[in-house]
């Protein structure tokens, strides 16, 4: 695949992880990469890729074996995301969000809830989405306004969610809503599994985006949507802490996506620098181009090493989970933006047109600096781990 990455990664990965990575790499190269440009051009959710990932058990990676999953740890899931994103960032989001939307259940779901929802999620029969963000609640997630009012054996949900990835194709959405407006800021929210379609639920519109264009980003409205009490994840008031614990585990997935996008861009840039001749020589033999490629490779490898370490740290459940999670996403997202921008530069005019994939990769990279916490929020999380919460 023209990779310039480490030849013997077995030293840092288990034999099992290497086998799974190679299988996903082959699948991404042969079946997903040829579709990537069309998915982007037509802004259409790739149902065929979803079915492919489901049939090959890739969507089962984050789920326990006893519920039909593959039982992959965080690092294994991230390796798979990276390999898919190397070919197509939109397609990698199918796995990322299948995990993101299911994490509240993985973290805080009851045994009954896990047994009820995981088999369909692990097999890919239904997709999950994560419903936290609202028009007025982005980085400030605790300011969610969607209400959930208890009525007998149900809660009744009213409100609007925005920028919900896969919100229009998901079968379940883990939705965060206010159950106690008078509680302290971080005890106001609860988390619910909303099974769609259901009465009062509507997909209001899909966004027109700069990148990840095949991934539907939906605005969802909830008007008197009834959700059984049995679908509440955790206790009332646990919502905010479930959301934060979810993001601690999901940000590495975005980091993996960013690293995959960057690696795909480097693969293209290296191949081009070998083939393209100007002034009678390969452009890669010009020192200015060679130095760009070297910096790109070193940057990607540094981000990858940080991600792998972060995954192990997060999986071990140490107290520093939020910091590791924020650091790997921060470094990987910025690396992806820089590397893809440089890849366009290496290809020159050919990088700016859609004959080559790097302009798409540059557009796709930008979102990794924004979603699941902007880079500014990541820095805030890291600084708080260093300094503690602000005084006063």
């Amino acid at each position: 695949m023209g990779s310039v990455t480490t030849r013997n990664p077995a030293e840092r990965l288990t034999e099992e992880q290497v086998l799974l990575r190679d299988a996903v790499r082959e699948l991404a190269r042969d079946r997903i990469a040829p579709r990537a440009a069309e998915i982007d051009r037509t802004s259409t959710f790739p149902e065929d890729i979803r079915q492919l990932l489901a049939s090959q058990d890739v969507l089962g990676l984050p789920f326990p074996v006893e519920h039909g999953g593959v039982g992959g740890d965080l690092l294994t899931v991230c390796i798979a995301i990276e390999e898919i994103a190397r070919a197509c960032a939109t397609s990698s989001l199918i796995l990322i969000v299948q995990e993101l939307g299911s994490l509240p259940l993985l973290i805080a779901g009851s045994a009954e809830q896990q047994a009820r929802f995981f088999p369909d999620l692990a097999s890919g029969r239904i997709l999950a989405a994560f419903g936290l963000t609202e028009p007025e609640a982005g980085s400030d997630a605790a300011s969610v306004r969607t209400r959930a009012v208890r009525d007998g054996d149900d809660y009744v949900l009213d409100g609007t969610k925005r920028f919900i990835t896969n919100g229009s194709v998901a079968g379940i959405i883990t939705v965060f809503a206010v159950t106690d407006p008078d509680a302290p800021r971080h005890r106001r929210l609860s988390c619910f599994v909303v099974e769609v379609p259901t009465e009062g639920f509507r997909v209001e519109r899909l966004e027109h985006k700069l990148g990840i264009r095949g991934s539907p980003t939906a605005e969802l409205s909830f008007a008197g949507v009834r959700v059984p009490v049995a679908n509440r994840i955790g206790a009332e008031g646990d919502g905010f802490s479930i959301a934060m614990a979810t993001l601690d585990r999901s940000r590495p997935g975005v980091a993996a996506q960013a690293i995959g996008i960057a690696q795909g861009a480097l693969d293209t840039a290296v191949a081009y620098a070998r083939d393209r001749r100007q002034f009678g020589q390969r452009i890669g033999d010009f020192q200015m181009v060679a130095s760009m490629l070297a910096d790109m490779d070193a940057g990607i490898e540094a981000a990858r090493q940080l991600l792998y370490t972060a995954c192990v740290e997060i999986e071990s459940g140490g107290p520093d989970v939020a910091r590791w999670s924020a650091m790997c996403k921060l470094i990987a997202g910025d690396t992806a933006m820089r590397v893809t921008t440089d890849a366009v530069q290496v290809l020159g005019g050919y990088g700016y047109i859609d004959e080559f994939p790097v302009e798409r990769m540059m557009r796709d990279a930008k979102i990794t600096q924004i979603y699941e916490g902007t880079q500014q929020v990541q820095r805030l999380v890291i600084a708080r781990a260093l300094l503690g919460r602000p005084e006063a």
């Binding site: 799974l20 299988a23 042969d30 079946r31 058990d57 890739v58 593959v70």
Partner: protein
């Protein structure tokens, strides 16, 4: 229904990294190996048959001990188990030795069908399946584009490609069938299949186990030997034709006519 699929590890054509040792034999340590692509089509056909009729699939490979690594991928696709015939005395075997060894190993197995790929991407002889069928006196059905067993009747029907269409052949089972790519694209191993393959059995057999005299096979008695190898000549300058199909066709015709090739 029990199906044996003949598989061979070959140098990975995608890696294009094969090296020959000083004896002009493949330096396997330096050449990344994969399952021969045509054998994967045979395995895919076997998987479809066992999905439809039930049963098991045994992979049969003659290769050095490292051959079990490539068999894992075939096991991940869904084969039940593998048998690897490995013996130092087999180094340098020609197609005759290979056929004798495979036939002797099959002699100890119970099966309804033996499926094989049309040929291999390294040796390319394409005679081993026919030789195995001959040695075992099995019905030989070549160029299979469709395989329809009737287990109750103990017979199998094969649609066999010919230059002008196809023949419909019927034979009693057990029989040996040479598969074509018309049987369908090989599946990718699923992640669960990969995990499951790690604990599937690959039994190793030596020449002693299968009752073949070591002096009768291998490089010493090979009927052919490689006396010299040469790299293909470097390709000349390449002309790229861009444009619509019609423009491309015009440009190619003009190119050929200019050189009086057409």
């Amino acid at each position: 229904m029990h199906i044996v699929v003949l598989t061979k590890p070959v140098p990975d054509p995608a890696a294009a990294a094969e090296r020959l040792g000083p004896d002009l034999r493949l330096d396997r340590a330096a050449s990344p190996a994969v399952v021969n692509a045509n054998d994967e089509y045979a395995l895919e056909a076997a998987l479809k048959l066992t999905e439809a009729f039930g049963g098991e699939i045994t992979l049969l490979t003659m290769a050095p001990a490292g051959g079990s690594d490539t068999m894992r991928k075939a096991l991940a696709m869904g084969a039940t188990r593998g048998i690897l015939v490995a013996d130092p005395a087999l180094a340098g075997s020609d197609t005759r030795s290979t056929s004798v060894v495979l036939a002797a190993t099959l002699g100890d197995l119970a099966y309804d069908l033996v499926l094989a790929g049309a040929d291999t991407s390294d040796g390319g002889g394409g005679v081993v399946p026919a030789a195995v069928a001959t040695l075992l006196r099995l019905p030989y059905l070549g160029n299979a584009a469709k395989i329809e067993p009737d287990p109750a009747a103990g017979r199998v029907r094969v649609r066999s490609f010919t230059p002008i269409g196809f023949d419909l052949l019927e034979a009693p089972m057990p029989a040996l069938i040479v598969c074509t790519q018309a049987l369908g694209e090989p599946r990718y191993p699923s992640l669960k299949g990969i995990m499951a393959a790690r604990s599937k059995e690959i039994a190793t057999r030596t020449l002693g186990d299968i009752g073949v005299d070591a002096a009768a096979v291998g490089g010493a008695v090979a009927s052919t030997r490689v006396v010299e190898t040469r790299k293909p000549p470097a390709r000349g300058a390449t002309t790229m034709v861009r444009g619509t199909a019609a423009e491309g066709a015009d440009a190619i015709v003009a190119f050929l006519a200019e050189r009086r090739i057409i």
